[in-house]
């Protein structure tokens, strides 16, 4: 932490009442507790059901962005990857992709978005009313280990060296 560079913004999204879709919000809850113990971290924390156009505004003034989401297709326990603005067809739905949020930011601000990464945590069950699956609990613990390291060292170049 250099105390000057703007801190990261974390987006944890998903429906907490749909089984493993809760992975993103749950990790964000843990990040919030971590942030209270590390007040100098300057974390931006955004929880939502899904990504939409207004989340582009939350990127403003941030040094790096991290999207926390459940993923039914990534290899377990998680995948950590860097993303770039992209004009994909998620614009035609009520739910944007992280790449689309970056693209909206670029378009409405005329600036490049901050470096951005996605931490996809493998989920197995997404039924309404279902609890977190045992597999997802294991995956969440593994992801939490990485997330703590990322928050402790929020330099984009450091994050880039950790992509899986």
């Amino acid at each position: 932490m250099n105390g000057i560079a703007p801190g990261p913004v974390l987006f944890g999204y998903g429906n907490p009442s749909r089984g493993d879709d809760a992975l993103g919000p749950l990790l964000l809850d843990r990040a919030e507790i971590w942030a209270k113990a590390h007040p100098g971290a300057d974390l931006g924390l955004v929880a939502d059901f899904q990504l939409q156009i207004e989340h582009a505004v939350d990127l403003h003034g941030r040094g790096v962005a991290l999207f926390l989401d459940a993923d039914a297709s990534c290899p377990p326990p998680f995948r950590f990857r860097r993303i770039a603005p992209a004009r994909d067809e998620s614009y035609t739905t009520h739910e944007l992709s992280p790449e689309s949020v970056l693209h909206v930011f670029s378009t409405i601000s005329g600036q490049a978005p901050p470096p951005a990464f996605v931490l996809s945590v493998r989920g197995e069950c997404f039924e309404l009313g279902a609890p977190l699956s045992p597999e997802a609990e294991v995956h969440a613990e593994a992801a939490w280990g990485l997330l703590q390291e990322l928050m402790a060292d929020p330099r984009p170049e450091s994050w880039a060296g950790r992509v899986t």
Partner: protein, 501 residues
Amino acid sequence: MSPTANLQLESAAHPEGLTRTVIEPITRVEGHGKVTLLMDDQDRVQQARLHIVEFRGFEKFIQGRPYWEAPVMVQRLCGICPVSHHLAAAKAIDMFVGARQLTPTAEKLRRLMHYGQTLQSHALHFFHLASPDLLFGFGADVATRNIIGVIQAHPAIALQGVKLRKYGQEVIRVLSGKRVHGVFAIPGGVNKALSVQDRDYLRKDIDQIVAWSREAVAIARRVYLDNLEEHQAFGSFRSNFLSLTTPGGDFELYDGGLRARDDKGQDIFDHVDCAHYLRYLHEEVKSWSYMKFPFIVSLGNDEGWYRVGPLARVNNARAMGMPMAEEARRDFMSMGKGEPVHATLAYHWARMIELLYSAEAIQALLGDPDLLGTDLLTRGERATEGVGVIEAPRGTLIHHYKIDDQDTIVKANLIVSTTHNNTAMNSAVRQVAARYLDGKKLTEGLLNHIEVAIRAYDPCLSCATHALGRMPLQVELLDAEGQLVDRLVKHADGSLACGAL
């Protein structure tokens, strides 16, 4: 045309031997559904239906829980309008604690949250889901017919949409502590007073929000009038309308009585106590859809279907109650020449009038000293049954619960806005299919005409079908013998795959 005039395309007389085209799901609509078109050898539409393809009972999700958990739990039924479910559930459970009239502060704070929700939802729909169709045309190239195309061609409009949406979300966040999943409305009132600091934070931008909302009405009006003939005809049919109104018959989003009017604007019923909704509204089940078909009991299931949402609310209101919105309503209603406006695409214009109303109502509330009060809760005689009705952005939303002696919810019935509009959306599909697809080969642009008609209702199929999921867009072409001869698949990431099997 009577409300039943185009029902002849609901079921083909001889469906065997017809070509079947499937559009699945409807993009820019939450959840998923599919449209099937049965065409004969001359490419004439013989049957058109909007299907809902998945069902999960979310009443079961609520039953067995303590009633005070309901306003929090129901927010998780739907990622699109959680605040509407939160407030409808809260209104229902108010009855359990005998809170038939909230304190002025509590009611005004709930209204503020509701107007914030309406503002952000309508802004998203008009500026980012519907505007690509409206600004570029229904048959425009698919590469430009999305929000990126709008941003690049009309950057100021797109940015206003983002900021309007963001402001509505901020209203919700300030009141509940979070943009989503927050706890605010509780049995008999709300759990947090509004601070002067938070009131002033919202007040500093509201004049700009009202100004942008007024511009939005002008944009919607201009788009409609610039292509008046097509907009009046597209997916247009006559219908009954249902909404809440104030005791005086004015526009209302949070409370009031139920009013139903016929296609000429005459009252079918008025000032109906929402607790008695089951005496006036029933639901029909049809074998080909998981979504039910509500109707007005006195008219029967063939004649009694109706529309809800912005068009219904503006048509049913005697006046809007906010000066700029009222001016816009009068202008809008002049289109009907003394009768309700029936055009499906008029929903967009009516939706922007409601956006303006919501902005003006927020502005008025932020200047009301009651908003900063601290008398937040009220109580009365306990009851074991509660009905909460609210006008959600998409239309009338009904929550109905019964509890036992242990305060556990033993029965829940929810009628969501999109379900009220089920027959109307099917009618729009049939009308558009008959007008634009009959006798033509199918193209992506033509198929989008059907989606445009459905999107005008801003349906939330996730809510209506109790499901939330991603499905690829799948278009299947079957020959007269029912054999699949071609397929077009649009995957969840937007990529397309096509070609014969």
